[in-house]
């Protein structure tokens, strides 16, 4: 049987996914610096990719399946089927800034530094608030500290990084969940095998 192809993101979700899959008899490990692995049951061929590239691999059908946060999915705008929402890895998208200040909403344009430009623009435009966005690729917390922008929009898990930089959350914008996604065409061709896989991880 040809294994199902699954892309996994490097970073915060990886260890959790590994633990969960191991519990379901689909344990895997990557040899030194290798980025492709097979699971113990032979059901999966797993690719390890950068979080923000994951939707691209699934969109092109290189990996049929992927595990990905809704934050990253929103930014790419590709169309996938969501097969399952995991109960780990949840976090929230928040707007934050310097401690002691507040969110100035009245008619003023918000200047925001973020990795999540599409989400931020759509979110505030849907509320009728104009925004000016500075795209950053990491260490977003620096922006208000150094005076690049007054606000940041970013994922907040524990809030420790914010606290350490004397920042605080002004508002929670959205719950972010982790999903099992599938390329629609891949699903149509392999729906039985994919459904069995979903049943196995949700049992």
């Amino acid at each position: 049987m040809t294994p199902l192809t699954l892309a996994l993101p490097k970073g915060r979700l990886f260890e959790e996914v590994k633990k969960q899959f191991s519990l379901k008899g689909m344990g895997f490990s990557f040899d030194n610096r290798k980025l492709v692995a097979h699971d113990a049951s032979g059901l999966l061929k797993i690719f390890l990719v950068k979080n923000s590239d994951l939707p691209t691999y699934v969109n092109h059908g290189i990996a049929g399946l992927g595990i990905c946060g809704s934050d990253v999915l929103y930014e790419t705008g590709y169309k996938f089927f969501k097969l399952h929402t995991f109960d780990f890895g949840s976090t929230s998208m928040c707007i934050a800034g310097k401690k002691g200040q507040t969110l100035e909403k009245r008619g003023r344009k918000l200047t925001i530094a973020t990795k999540f430009t599409r989400f931020t623009r759509d979110y505030y435009h849907s509320k009728g608030i104009p925004v000016e966005i500075v795209k950053l690729n990491g260490s977003v917390e620096l922006a208000p500290v150094l005076g690049l922008t007054r606000y940041i929009v970013d994922l907040v898990e524990t809030g420790n990084t914010l606290k350490a930089n004397n920042l605080e959350i002004y508002e929670k914008l959205k719950d972010i969940k982790v999903h099992l996604i599938v390329n629609p065409s891949y699903y149509k061709l392999h729906y039985q095998a994919v459904n069995n896989f979903v049943a196995r991880i949700t049992e």
């Binding site: 089927f81 629609p184 065409s185 699903y187 149509k188 061709l189």
Partner: protein, 361 residues
Amino acid sequence: MTGKKNRLLQLPQGTESLYLEEAYRHQQAVARLHNLFTSWGYLPVETPLFDFFDIYQDMISGREKDIYRLIDREGDLLMLRSDITLFLAKQIGLLSGSTDLPLRVYYSGAILRHQNQEDISKNEFFQTGVELIGKEGKYADMEVLTLLIATFKALDLSPRIHLGSRDILAKLFADFSGEEFSHVISLSGNRNFGELEHFINGRISADKKSFILDLISFIGTATDFENLLKKSAYKPDMQEQEAINHLLSLWAMLTELNLENHFRIDMSETGSQHYYTGIVFQGYLEGVDSAVVSGGRYDTLLKEFGFDSPSIGFSILLRKVEKLMSSDFSIPDHTALEQQDFTSAYREADKLRQQGRIVLL
């Protein structure tokens, strides 16, 4: 100078060029399909390359950004051809008053759609397809489904066709407004059952709701489909049953022809266009990252162009499938002649060409 050099290396997004081997394979595929369509009694049509944007505006909502628009010398907004079927519908509206029905037509041509610079996966550059106009019922549905299988056979490919029915969904959601139904169609097409359940909650009985959710998530053969119907606590009303029977009778005919293995009943196959009214389908091939063919019955589209007539057709994005075609479509070997003087070489070449060889002078 650097600017000009960069432009020499690039094409604007949404178009492509084809050379030599690749162009040859493309033309072979097109030629085979044209022969096939002709042998089924379909006639060629050519559509304009651009047309007035406002006529089509309502039919392309949500896709405006993919369409190239320009302003002509009179100040009218035009759109470049991004979907041949749409331009064809208007032409047929104009034509069909003066012609006998049913009308069978085929088309092939380039289309222009914007695509993301970083996304090379789409290959939506060339469309070929057929339309059967002025005929309704099982007979016409079967003609187009069997022609679809013959089309892929001509390309030596074996697709999986997922067959749905907009008609069944329309009957099940008869009480919903047009806008609400569009939302249902979109959620079903995305297999977003959680939100679908949330959206229809409280609007319909619990039995019917669980029937609908089972139905829309279903993919399988007619036997599995009938089992699902038998098990359900909800019993479809007469109109709903009629739409279901139509789909099942198509399956029965496909089985008689030994073609059912190419098909799956899939009620989440709702058709991306809002104008579909009957059966809808998309075809998939292993190794291609999105549907390669889509089609269905649209009995009300032509009315928008002043001519009311039932129609059914399909359209293939041919460039998506060409990479999977066998070497039968590649340039055949050629013979190079050794004769030194032109006259005897010419005579020899002429003789060999009559035997079907390819000869270089």
